[in-house]
Structure formats: C-alpha cells, structure tokens
Amino acid sequence: MTDGPDGGEVITPSQTVGPFFAYCLTPSAYKYRQVFSSDLTAHGAEGRRIHIEGRVLDGDGELVPDAIIEIWQADAAGAYARADQGANAAFRGFGRAECDGEGRFAFTTVKPGRVPGPGGASQAPHINVGVFARGLLKRLFTRIYFADEANEADPILALVPEGRRPTLMAEPSSAGSTHYTFDIRLQGDAETVFFEA
C-alpha cells in the first residue's frame, strides 16, 4: 500500500478513543498500573510550579465528561526531554488527565521556558495539548499560552486571527497566582483555536 502522498505509505488513520478508555489510559480507579500522570512534577522538576484547571465544552456549551487531555511541554529552561535521557529525566514533559464527570481536568506542572521557533524566532512559553473524546474521530491539537507572559512576538500566535487568540490564553486566577484556568471549547462562537500540523 504505497499510494500515500509522494509515493509514501498510507498512514494508519485515526479513530475515536471512544467512551471506555479509562481502565487502560487513565486507570487509577481500576486495578491497572498507571504509566502517565496529570502531575508532571511528581519526580521533581526545576522551575515554577503551576496548576492548570479547565473544562471541556461542546457546541451547546454542555460539559464533556469523557474527554482525555494530553500535554507535552518544554521544561522551565525551554528544553524538551530527549530520548537518550529516558526515564532518568526528572521532568519528562508529558502528562495525561481525564475529565471528571463535570468535564473538568487539571494538571500540575512547571511553567515552560521559551523555545526556538521558525526562522530563529523564539516562541513564547506554551504547552502543546491533544484532546481525545468520544465524538472526536481524531485528536484535536491546540496550545496553552499564558496571559501573564510576553506573547506579542510569538510567531505561532501571529498566524492566529487576533480575535481568536484569547482562546489560547491560560488566565491566572489573580495577579501573580500560580493557578491558571484554560477551558477548551470544541465548537461554536468562542471555539478554541485548533491547529493542523
């Protein structure tokens, strides 16, 4: 099967995660060992600890109780964990959380540093986000930026229509707080910006 673009192989297509993933992917309530955590600092990590909480909402504004959120981010110095560091890296940069019955998710992590961007520009601190759920045939991909950071020169935000950029901003609960809120709206007027990459 070599009829993909440019003569490559056709990739294995995505299918929905469905409603019944928890006993494998986020099995803390089941008797199955958990590999991934929503606390990225569990093994120790340099940097400023932050908490990000949010909700997932559908096109009617209804809370989505069966979504799973994954994040991938650089450490506080702006470095991504690498393969050769393996399990020895204190901060591995990846987390996973399921929504509770009220559509809420939460992560504990560190504020990421700036990372290199296109053409030598640097990217403002951000966290890559994947959203899976029943009704999502493929992962939705967005980013969390931080409203209290210098985002003006970010080369990725510059690609986003200005009026939609606020959907990508985690808001601190008060000035200087380490608690942030980031809601994900799957559909509608205030829809979160999703990326194709």
Binding site: G4, E9, A29, Y30, A81, G86, A87, L159
Partner: protein, 236 residues
C-alpha cells in the same frame, strides 16, 4: 528548520465532522484549523519505552487467576513510518471489550456478562525492528445508541506514541470479514478505502499457534518520511 512531515498524509484520517456518527455533530470544530509550521514543539515528543511495561502487560489472558472465556488470539505486526522504516521502542496501549462485547468500564451498561478473568487492558513496546505482539481474546460486537439497531464491529483500541508529538495516534483494529464494518459510521468516516483497509487486521496462519490461538497481523504506519527527523538524539 528541519524538514516537515508531509501534511498531505493526514488525508488518510477521517474528517472531524462525520454526521452519521452523531457524537461528532456537537464536538467537531466548526472553524478552520490553523496550519502550523513544525517547530521543536511538534517535532519532539514524549519517550515512553520498555520501562513503561511490566511482564504480563502483553498477555491479556493472564492477568487474573483463571482463563478468560472466548477465542484466544495473538495479534502481531510491525510499526513503520511512511518510508517503511521501523519505529522501535514505541509504546502501544491496548483496550477492548471482552468476548461477550462488554467493557470493564463502569459506564458500560450493555446487558452482557463481565468476565472476572478478563480486564481488557494491555501494553506492549515495539522491538528494534518495530515489531510487537500481544495475546488476548477476540472481542465481541456490542450495541450502541448512535442510531436504531446500531452495533459496533468487533474492535481493539490501540494508542501509539511514535517519535514526536505529531506521530501520536489513537486508532482501532478490526477483523476481516466482519459484516458490521459496512454499517459502522466510525469505520466509514475514513473517506479513503485504502486507508480504511489499514484498520482491518489479516488472519495469519504463520503466527497462529497450533492447539492454542489464532494469529492476526496488524501493521501500523505512523507519520514521518525519509529525511524528516529532526535531530540525532546525541548531537548536543
């Protein structure tokens, strides 16, 4: 900047909105996706390999004191990229219904029996040549409420991490000859027939173990092309 993954490869995926799959109607984004250049944020990814699995994770028939009911099967295959290169040390997470079509999940209310000897969750990691193998029970079909008399074809859920954030995929393995495939809006959401056929495992007499279990082969192709990556892991 590193060479990017071809975005055209994503045409194999289903669209976000597939109205026959009713749950997509209020959950699919309605605004255009923003095309992103591939930066370090997308071209790196979490690395979870052999340390993530323990003995027994690859045999879903041996996680309890007794033997589960149902048809024992061995699923094996190879994970490669679009150029046919193996993807080694890739974590695959597996979950499924039991032989009666019932999930362990607390919210599954299908009137079919749970099996005290079957949970239906496993993990496996590809070897240096991208190969993997796990033993399980062939899952049953089960009803869902998408439309009148709707039944999901028998399937196993698979979640894969490749080498980067962009290679992450969650998909489903189906079985050959299943008459429910032609009626399943989730399977049929994939527009391209060749891409759909990627998801149908093949019966394989070579991996069938005499007197023990039927073999099914399921090869998986992740994104990524020759000259794609990125950085040598040791170059700094």
């Amino acid at each position: 900047m590193p060479t990017i993954y071809p975005v055209a490869s994503l045409r194999a995926d289903p669209p976000s909105l597939a109205p026959d799959y009713v749950s997509t109607r209020k959950r699919a984004p309605s605004k255009p996706l923003v095309l992103l250049p591939h930066t370090l944020s997308e071209l790196t990814g979490p690395v979870y390999g052999h340390e993530s699995v323990v003995e027994g994770d690859d045999d879903l028939t041996r996680q309890h004191t007794g033997e589960p009911l149902g048809e024992r099967i061995i699923v094996s295959g190879r994970v490669t990229d679009e150029s046919g290169r193996p993807v080694p040390n890739a974590l695959i997470e597996i979950w499924q219904a039991n032989a009666a079509g019932r999930y362990v999940h607390v919210k599954d209310v299908h009137d079919a029996p749970l099996d005290p000897n079957f949970t239906g969750a496993g993990r496996v990691v590809t070897d240096g040549d991208g190969r993997y193998r796990f033993t399980t029970i062939k899952p049953g079909a089960y009803p869902w409420r998408n439309h009148h008399n709707a039944w999901r074809p028998a399937h196993i859920h698979l979640s894969l991490f490749g080498p980067s954030f962009l290679t992450r995929v969650v998909t489903q393995l189906y079985f050959p000859g299943d008459p429910l495939l032609a009626l399943d809006p989730i399977f049929l959401s994939i527009p391209d027939e060749r891409a759909r056929s990627r998801l149908i495992s093949q019966f394989d007499i070579e991996t069938t173990r005499p007197e023990w279990a039927l073999g099914y082969r399921f090869d998986i192709v992740l994104r990524g092309r020759e000259a794609t990556p990125v950085e040598e892991p040791h170059d700094d």
